[in-house]
């Protein structure tokens, strides 16, 4: 049983790897876009422009109030109807996870920028830096360090949430696993393997976040 189980995993490895590639591509693309979008969000929120803040607050609250899975269905079913735009489920997942991730990273970035001593901003302005220089040379380098540990945690959440893509029809690692189960009935083995797959990606990230948090708050 044990050896036949391992054998099944070994034989299925190419198939599973292909699904894992989809899962990881969705995660990686979403993480990259979320990070860039989130930093932009943080900068825009700290510019203190009233109408801009209002728009960004609405964006944030919509992504907080409506669950990610609901967003997935809204865009997957809604985009074709409202915009006549039929996005493949892969890109639909990337779009939703990026928008959601950017709101999460954005709040972290805003918090980090907000937590910097006010003197930093004032000193920068007093020596005549413009907004771009102020953020580029003074505020962002400090804020980026502060936001790293919590942002890594957002990354693990994006990776975990990418699993929902299977529900709108992406042939990701879970779908491949289900196909193997349909053929072999080895549900415990396959779901166990999927458990470990996500655990071994997310656990090192969580642990790194914790170590960095501890190290940098002590220093």
């Amino acid at each position: 049983m044990a050896s036949s189980g391992l054998e099944l995993l070994w034989v299925s490895l190419p198939q599973l790897a292909k699904g894992a590639g989809q899962t990881l591509s969705i995660s990686f693309l979403s993480i990259a876009i979320s990070t860039i979008g989130g930093v932009f969000y943080g900068v825009l929120r700290t510019l203190n422009v009233t109408w801009l803040n209002a728009i960004l607050r609405i964006y944030l609250e919509l992504f907080r109030a409506i669950p990610v899975l609901v967003w997935l269905y809204l865009l997957f079913f809604g985009l074709p109807i409202f915009f006549g735009l039929s996005l493949p489920s892969f890109w639909c997942a990337v779009l939703v996870l990026s928008l959601w991730g950017a709101s999460e990273v954005g709040e972290v970035a805003r918090g980090a920028l907000h937590s910097l001593p006010r003197g930093q901003r004032e000193a920068g302005l007093s020596i005549g830096l413009n907004a771009a220089q102020l953020y580029g040379y003074v505020l962002l380098p400090q804020a980026l360090k502060r936001m790293t540990p919590p942002t890594i945690n957002v990354y693990t959440r994006i990776i975990k949430t990418s699993s929902l893509a299977v529900l709108i029809g992406v042939v990701d690692v879970i779908k491949v696993g289900q196909q193997i189960i349909e053929r072999t009935y080895e549900s415990v083995l396959i779901y166990g393997a999927l458990f470990l797959f996500f655990f071994f990606i997310c656990y090192p990230l969580s642990a790194a976040s914790r170590v960095l948090e501890r190290r940098w708050t002590q220093a």
Binding site: L69, F77, S163, I174, G192, F195
Partner: protein, 221 residues
């Protein structure tokens, strides 16, 4: 494109029921998660040997794997070893597994924030473990972890949408069934969005207020 209001009206009773199921799953899961977390936090506070390691392992495992995999494992894999559960039971089990771990972390952080001197002085005046927990640790840790606890409650309530994947008739599953039956995609998506906004937005705004209020309290002291 105009909305078919008569159709929306005819689905409202089903959606009322669905909101009930969402709240039911969410609230039961929050209650059971809190029980698990209190037990775990007690084990961690008193550094119970072996059990402490086990709690740590559980928390890491639950926090670093997706809810959907946990759900599928309980619903599709456990029957293979002779444990058959309904979608609803699977939902409660899985959400307790996940929520218990998150809330354990929250309570642990709250307990860590209680100054060590509080524990020591409690011990020095001869309080028992139970008294220490009841009169010294929990009241202070409870207040400190209130915003995070509340945030996790909302998180769990929103996560109930995931259990639509095992046919629990909550809001998302109900929406999907109506779309599949009548092709009224436009109407049903509008209803779903409205329900989410009405249900979760006030909670999320309340949380923001609570966080600011408690932050204010900290600055004031």
């Amino acid at each position: 494109m105009t909305l078919d209001y008569a159709f929306i009206l005819s689905t409202l009773p089903a959606f009322f029921k669905a909101v009930g199921v969402t709240l039911q799953v969410g609230l039961i899961a929050i209650a059971t998660s809190l029980l698990v977390a209190l037990l775990n936090a007690t084990i961690l506070v008193f550094r119970t040997p072996y059990l402490q390691k086990l709690v740590g392992f559980y928390v890491e495992l639950a926090r670093n794997t997706p809810l959907l995999i946990q759900l599928f494992f309980v619903y599709f894999a456990l029957p293979a070893v002779g444990i058959q559960v309904s979608g609803f039971t699977a939902a409660i089990i899985t959400m307790t597994f996940l929520g218990g771990a998150y809330l354990t972390e929250v309570l642990r952080a709250g307990v860590d924030a209680v100054p060590q001197a509080q524990l020591e002085s409690g011990r020095s005046i001869g309080l028992s473990h139970g008294q220490l927990l009841r009169y010294v640790i929990l009241p202070q840790a409870g207040i400190l972890s209130l915003p995070s606890l509340f945030a996790n409650f909302i998180f769990l309530l929103k996560e109930t949408t995931v259990v639509s994947a095992v046919a629990v008739p909550e809001i998302l599953y109900t929406t999907k069934s109506y779309i599949a039956l009548y092709y009224k995609t436009y109407e049903m998506l509008a209803v779903l969005t409205l329900i989410c906004v009405l249900l979760f937005l006030p909670l999320s705004l309340l949380l923001s207020r609570l966080e600011r209020r408690l932050q204010h309290g900290q600055f004031g002291s």
